[in-house]
Symmetry: C2
Subunit: 568 residues, 2 copies
């Protein structure tokens, strides 16, 4: 029995287009016995409240019926599709339609509905009850949807489910389990999923095939992962981040003994691939081709531009240098060296001095002069916002999306200016801690070919100079922040692990007052993150949808409130 595991990037809401794509795949691979598609392949995942729009689920079901009628009748095609339910106030099932013989023969519906992190399955779906299996080509195949298989084990969430869909299918005599997922990427998750599949297969003595969707939607990226384990738990095939043009992975269940896997990616390569996919998904799916990145000569903008170039092609990336009166000479040199190493379409220099001065002189006339002195918060923010104004004007004038360059450490403590450097369609590094930005740069420089560059892209001096916002004379980040090694550790524990202040102070050994100040800054900067650009999620807990947080709360660790609309 040959099972086809496609590299499928369904588009949210493009029901007919997605159905056509599945039909084409089935046509091309119709000599195989089974085609598996990812969770909700017909409507794209996550459809969010689009599921509630009148007629939407019906439209999916109609597209499914037409598709089923057009498929090779001998082939078993499993199609992820919402299934309507009349009496549960708009909630439907998250189903897998079993298509065979020109029709929809049955359904397997997702039983476990995760509600942690970015998931709110319970808002949209009613739980399926009991496992569903089918006899095909001499196998009894059990069908599962995403969490039914993972049961939160792949993300280290403590979640207690009352049923075990895997055990139920084994109990029912299945010799093979096929699981369809739309499981958002998280650094390291793929290997935990491999472990989970292997462990479950060997514990239950059952073969397991797992397929994840590919591509990206807004803040979520999917690794197109495929994992195939035999009933001893041996992982025979494994795929992660196939390239867009890759053919499906086709596995011969009955004759496959030799282990053949793609090599395992290290964490930096995983992050790189995830961000490249996210930028490409956002830019292309919004009908754009080009991106615009402000280049400061610093590490964040360099890495952002490199990822943009790898995603879209350097010919589609415009670098914009916007020096101020406080910019150092090396900033422009480093930015130019970067643009040259990447081969960017263009790298323009647009000084902000004139806008900065026009804003100052305009405001001085209405008597706010005393607060505008050089180095003041207001003056720093005017500069950052003048840059935002320029980037957005270029975007409006010539097309292309602005990518913002702030990293997770900065967004955490509010070291970013709303409507300034936070301008953009996507905050590419918004879930990458500062030290991980350096590690990503290092990885790209050490593996330029794997990353798609002809030479190491990041200038050495960008890697080695002390980080600075250059918004006042001789400013460096460490004037007001602890060393990034420590800051990152605090952010990781407070934001990603939800640790208490006491534990962080105890376990890091850092100064209690310093830690309290940083934690207060993190909580108080929520108002900025609430208006941030889309942040691709690559960690356990990214800022954004997966971390709903009160803006005006006083969570205790924040002794003073930092007023809105201020920057560090």
């Amino acid at each position: 029995m040959q099972v086809v595991l496609p590299n499928l990037d369904s588009r949210i809401g493009d029901v007919e287009g997605n159905a056509r794509l599945i039909g084409e795949l089935a046509g091309e691979w119709g000599h195989c016995e089974v085609l598996l598609t990812p969770e909700l392949a017909i409507c794209g995942y996550p459809p969010r409240d689009l599921l509630f729009r009148e007629g939407f689920v019906a439209r999916c079901e109609q597209a499914l019926e037409s598709l089923a009628a057009s498929l090779p009748p001998e082939m078993l095609v499993i199609v992820g599709c919402p299934r309507s339910h009349d009496s549960d106030g708009g909630r439907c099932y998250n189903g897998l339609a079993i298509c065979r013989g020109g029709r929809v023969e049955g359904w397997a519906c997702k039983q476990l509905l995760p509600g942690y992190d970015v998931f709110d399955d319970d808002r949209y779906f009613r739980p399926g009850v009991g496992g569903h299996w089918i006899e095909h080509a001499g196998h009894r195949i059990g069908l599962l949807v995403c969490e039914d298989l993972w049961q939160a084990g792949d993300v280290r969430e403590q979640t207690a489910y009352e049923v075990d869909p895997v055990a139920d299918l084994v109990q029912a005599g299945c010799d093979l389990i096929m699981a369809s997922s739309a499981s958002p990427f998280m650094t390291g998750k793929h290997l935990r999923q491999v472990d989970t599949v292997s462990r479950l297969a060997s514990r239950h003595g059952v073969g397991i095939i797992s397929l994840n969707r590919a591509g990206a939607e807004d803040d979520l990226v999917f690794d197109g992962g495929a994992i195939v384990a035999d009933s001893t738990g041996e992982v025979l095939r494994r795929r992660q981040f196939p390239s867009q043009s890759d053919s499906p992975l086709v596995v011969s269940i009955d004759s496959m003994t030799e282990v053949r896997q793609t090599p395992c990616m290290d964490e930096n390569e995983q992050r790189f691939q995830a961000l490249v996919n996210c930028v490409r998904g956002y830019v292309h799916k919004t009908g754009n081709k080009q991106a615009i990145v402000g280049l400061s000569g610093g590490i964040d903008s360099a890495v952002t531009a490199a990822i943009a170039a790898a995603s879209l092609g350097p010919e589609n990336v415009t670098g914009v240098m916007m020096p101020s009166r406080h910019s150092s000479a090396h900033s422009l040199e480093d930015a130019r060296a970067l643009a040259e190493a990447l081969g960017l379409a263009s790298c323009v220099e647009v000084p902000i001095e004139r806008i900065h001065e026009a804003t100052r002189s305009t405001l001085l006339e209405v008597d706010h002069g005393s607060s505008l002195e050089e180095g003041s918060l207001a003056d720093q923010n005017i500069q950052a916002r003048a840059r935002g104004l320029i980037l957005m004007a270029i975007s409006n004038a010539v097309g292309g999306l602005v990518l913002s360059t702030g990293n997770k450490s900065e967004l955490a403590v509010g070291y970013a200016t709303l409507y300034g450097d936070m301008c953009g369609a996507m905050a590419v590094l918004g879930d990458v801690l500062k030290m991980d930005v350096y590690a990503l740069a290092q990885w790209m420089n050490e593996h330029p070919r794997e990353a798609g560059f002809s030479q190491p892209p990041i200038p050495v001096s960008t890697m080695t100079k002390p980080p600075s916002a250059e918004l006042r004379p001789d400013q460096v980040d460490q004037d007001s922040l602890p060393p990034y090694e420590l800051l990152d550790e605090i952010v990781r524990r407070w934001v990603e692990e939800e640790q208490s202040a006491g534990r962080i102070i105890d376990e890091t050994g850092a100064d209690a007052q310093l830690v309290s100040r940083i934690l207060g800054m993190i909580d108080a900067a929520q108002f900025k993150r609430d208006q941030a650009a889309v942040i691709p999620k690559i960690s356990r807990r990214a800022f954004g949808r997966g971390r709903p947080w009160p803006i005006i709360g006083r969570p205790g660790a924040a002794p003073v409130w930092i007023p809105a609309a201020t920057s560090a």
Copy 2:
């Protein structure tokens, strides 16, 4: 038996402060038999992911224990408090602690966990099982938390729950039910809640006391509502939007026969009160006193400034007029007349010409001149963003939060500039359709005293002139939009009711192409709304948390994608 229904605005995360407040209330009203507090009164509602922070729930429980020990021992005090549960992966109960005799005597826990609209109770809470009641002062009192009583009937959501906590308590012989809520305001919801209470009381022959929290948190506002019905269903007491200084409502259960209710507010007054509370909550709870509003002379900025003045006092509101080369003379006159009628602290004029010109000349030098001609999209957005730059600089220089002025109709179709007129801490009218903005203005002019003004605040010519963004010569909104009566109807149906395009075309009789174009604009503008300021929810479905929507989806009605970072 006397029951005290306080006007309580707990602060999220300020556990010790909230406990102190409850203790003070109990001390002051200790001669009464019962003090009821709202849902999660001890930690504030909604705490969101703060509930997951290590030690947070334990901190609430400790504060509760100390509080219970300090309360008048004869009094029954019902305290909303999360209750920990060891074995459910971080989820706790949403509990009501029964405090009497100096200790926590028992708990009633929320059974029905809503997951629609802004609610994600299932993320945080495990369901309580079975009803809980207590004997006190000759009554058997059943305790419920919010949705246990409302069962989605107050918001017209179709939600099917499998248990009926009200019936269970009646079955157990309760003669009185007390329900604690933190039920977010929605226009018209209070009267539906009154109906629900009356209907349930008469159907079951049981007295019902319902208490809602007061104040506002981020995008949610609570009406401090109290509803008391006897066992015939007669509503004897009713309160909505008490003023901050109002004493608790004290009801004498055994001797209360005469109906005494606050007068019923019409929809405009409800909206006005909700927005006033929301602005005050946000500004004050973030440690600010002042607000800054850009005044265009148009209706949206006029109503925003009036609400700010009513919330914070006119002495704490600064109006900023920012004329451009396209501004008409009447704009400045109308803005000045408004500022005078409201008695604003100041009304400054800050022309944007110099910044506009500096931006143009800077960009012309790097050869983007051809796209910058007057009236172009880029040129319009530069003007809007120059205004944002000025408002934020004033905010940084002199303190105070910027309030943005766009309405729901504009946010729907993307008729707003990111980082321009969308700048601000709160988009005060972001859930008010354009025609409702006019109605609100009309109401304020007809009821200046109820609204807290000494004279009708909104200039007549602001009410009567055609709306215009004044970003190019002779521009009016209806150049590119249908009449607001129709636009509002389309937005209401598509966004608030989730109706299909077909139904909207059929039922409004509007031109199919026009409707399709508008629906496409609404879906395509999600990227802007995703970066919008906090929008106070006052309708059935506001933009924001309660309407998660894919940004890069192609939901079918949108034939062409409108590129990011553009404005109408």
